[in-house]
């Protein structure tokens, strides 16, 4: 029987590492890495991924000029008043849009909640209500799968430039999102209180107000506040298609290559988003 040292020498000569140190999943890892690369290649081609254009002198110089003009940001009184007005408009568009969205979302989500079905208390849900609920779910899906920017594009075409199209766009998309998530929240909780209320003869709205809503109110409010924050972000962006607010201001400044204006708008924008973020976080913390 050979000594232990010669044995280790023998094994290291044959295998690169001690069996315990060898990666047991080496082949799989290599396979996945290679297939990942094979997938990345066509994606890079499709998205024209050419990082070197960033460093071409033709692209770099105007970019540097533009960014160089960021300092100092424009801060004369006239521009600041304009900025303030557009900032308020952005917030107002988000708030009004969300308020309209709630008007649509609350009834739709109540219609689609399965917990509030009377027929499903005794076995399967009846045919009519089940079809209606599914239909409402599809409607909510359609409402939220059209992005607000597309709605805004459409409404700008119909109503003309201005905040009306922005408010409508936010209202439609957010009603889809809110309605779906409200329904999900209401269905995810414990349904026992609600169903026993309904079993004992209360109406569905009564069961909702006394059984389902108190249980989920905090979560519903917290989600609404979060969506308000999102709505502020998207209403700022909607201006890029002509729906008023900060986005429209930024779009026009950018088209004139006015770096100083773009810089102050960006700063206000970040401050606004940060403020909305803080506020919604504080509110949600209080709620939970």
């Amino acid at each position: 029987m050979p000594s232990t040292t010669s044995k280790t020498a023998f094994t290291t000569a044959w295998t690169p590492a001690h069996p315990a140190l060898r990666d047991p999943a080496l082949r799989l890892r290599v396979f996945w890495a290679l297939s990942g690369l094979a997938l990345l290649w066509p994606m890079g081609v499709l998205s024209e991924f050419k990082p070197w254009v960033l460093l071409e002198p033709g692209a770099l110089k105007p970019a540097l000029n533009f960014v160089g003009a960021f300092f100092p940001p424009r801060s004369d009184a006239e521009f600041l008043t304009l900025l303030l007005r557009e900032t308020w408009r952005t917030v107002a568009m988000a708030t009004a849009g969300l308020a309209l969205a709630l008007l649509l979302a609350v009834p739709l989500s109540l219609m689609s909640v399965r917990v509030l079905s009377l027929s499903s208390l005794t076995g399967r849900m009846a045919m009519g209500p089940s079809v209606l609920r599914q239909g409402v779910r599809w409607l909510l899906l359609v409402l939220r799968s059209v992005p607000e920017l597309v709605w805004a594009l459409v409404f700008v075409r119909v109503v003309g430039l201005g905040p009306t199209s922005g408010v409508l766009a936010i209202a439609l998309t957010y009603s889809g999102m809110l309605g779906k998530v409200y329904a999900d929240i209401l269905e995810s909780g414990e349904a026992h209180a609600t169903s026993s209320l309904m079993r004992n003869g209360s109406g569905r709205l009564q069961a909702f107000f006394y059984g389902l809503l108190p249980q989920n109110a905090a979560e519903l409010t917290s989600y609404t506040v979060y969506r308000w924050e999102c709505a502020i972000r998207s209403s700022a962006v909607l201006g890029f298609v002509g729906a008023g607010g900060l986005g429209q201001l930024m779009d026009s400044s950018m088209k004139m290559f006015n770096g100083a204006e773009v810089a102050s708008i960006l700063l206000v924008f970040m401050a606004l988003v940060w403020l909305a973020d803080r506020m919604s976080a504080a509110l949600r913390k209080n709620l939970s």
């Binding site: 499709l46 998205s47 991924f49 692209a59 308020a99 899906l141 992005p147």
Partner: protein, 274 residues
């Protein structure tokens, strides 16, 4: 035995408005905000519900009902859809890598970690995050020109901010035991991260990344409206030329893409949570 039981269960309902009740003030504030918003916005409902606007809307919808379905055009739309997917995937991948790189200095690895760069990195992540993709795209168009590359970078930059913050938070929230055990034995920080922290948080990082990818597909579809490639660029182009048939096809493609992503993620979630 239970002296308070009776009193507790037969309390009077709270007053409707109480000056010391924070929620009441909050509700009043929210209502005032809503009223002020509607009052100052100068919304043109009259114009929106006018016969003229309704007619225009009707005509618009009517024209949308005839999508352009020639093979050549659907081929182009398919290409744009693939472009959108590629943009979102590459942007998310870039963001995951950059986000992880920035999450490490932004996280306090252990209690005695001085984390000198934490504040600065968090500020940078917040700046990246609070600028929406569309604004990034509009800014980047000046640098890299029209096309999907600007969109990819824009998605990447915004998502870096989002993912970086989430990653930093999950690194900070990882169970401190295993890293502590390694650190106690004199293992370097890099190895502590690779062998104790990363294995704990990797599933969470992956699920965050997948979730953001899903969001980014939706974002990439519309990003093109400012000229950053994908379906959005086609939409803005054809809508600008009033070619409603083409617009309708592009819109349909967008809807299908988003619905597919939704359905897929829902299916994956149900499979994974089973």
């Amino acid at each position: 035995m239970y002296p308070n039981t009776g009193r507790d269960s037969y309390q009077l309902p709270p007053k409707l408005f109480d000056a010391r009740c924070k929620a009441c003030w909050l509700t009043v504030g929210v209502l005032m905000l809503v009223v002020a918003s509607f009052a100052t916005l100068n919304l043109q409902w009259a114009q929106f519900w006018s016969w003229d606007a309704l007619q225009r809307m009707g005509r618009f919808v009517g024209e949308l009902l005839h999508p352009e379905a020639s093979t050549r055009f659907t081929g182009k739309v398919l290409h744009a859809a693939l472009e959108t997917l590629a943009m979102s995937a590459l942007g998310t991948l870039l963001a995951a890598l950059l986000g992880l790189a920035l999450a490490l200095p932004a996280a306090r690895a252990h209690v005695h970690d001085p984390a000198h760069w934490r504040g600065v990195t968090r500020l940078a992540l917040n700046a990246l995050r609070s600028t929406p993709e569309l604004v990034w795209a509009a800014l980047l168009l000046i640098v890299v020109g029209l096309g999907p590359f600007a969109g990819t970078l824009a998605l990447g930059l915004h998502t870096t901010g989002v993912l970086g913050r989430l990653f930093a938070e999950s690194v900070e929230n990882a169970a401190p035991g295993p890293p502590f055990a390694l650190r106690l034995r004199g293992v370097g920080e890099a190895r502590v991260f690779l062998y104790a922290t990363l294995p704990q948080v990797l599933p969470q990082l992956l699920s965050y990344t997948l979730y953001r990818w899903e969001n980014n597909i939706r974002a990439a579809a519309v990003l093109g409206v400012v000229g950053a490639g994908g379906l959005g660029q086609m939409l803005a182009f054809h809508m600008g030329l009033f070619q409603m048939g083409e617009t309708s096809t592009v819109l349909l493609a967008m809807l299908v893409l988003v619905a597919l992503v939704d359905a897929l993620s829902y299916a994956m979630r149900t499979v994974l949570s089973r």
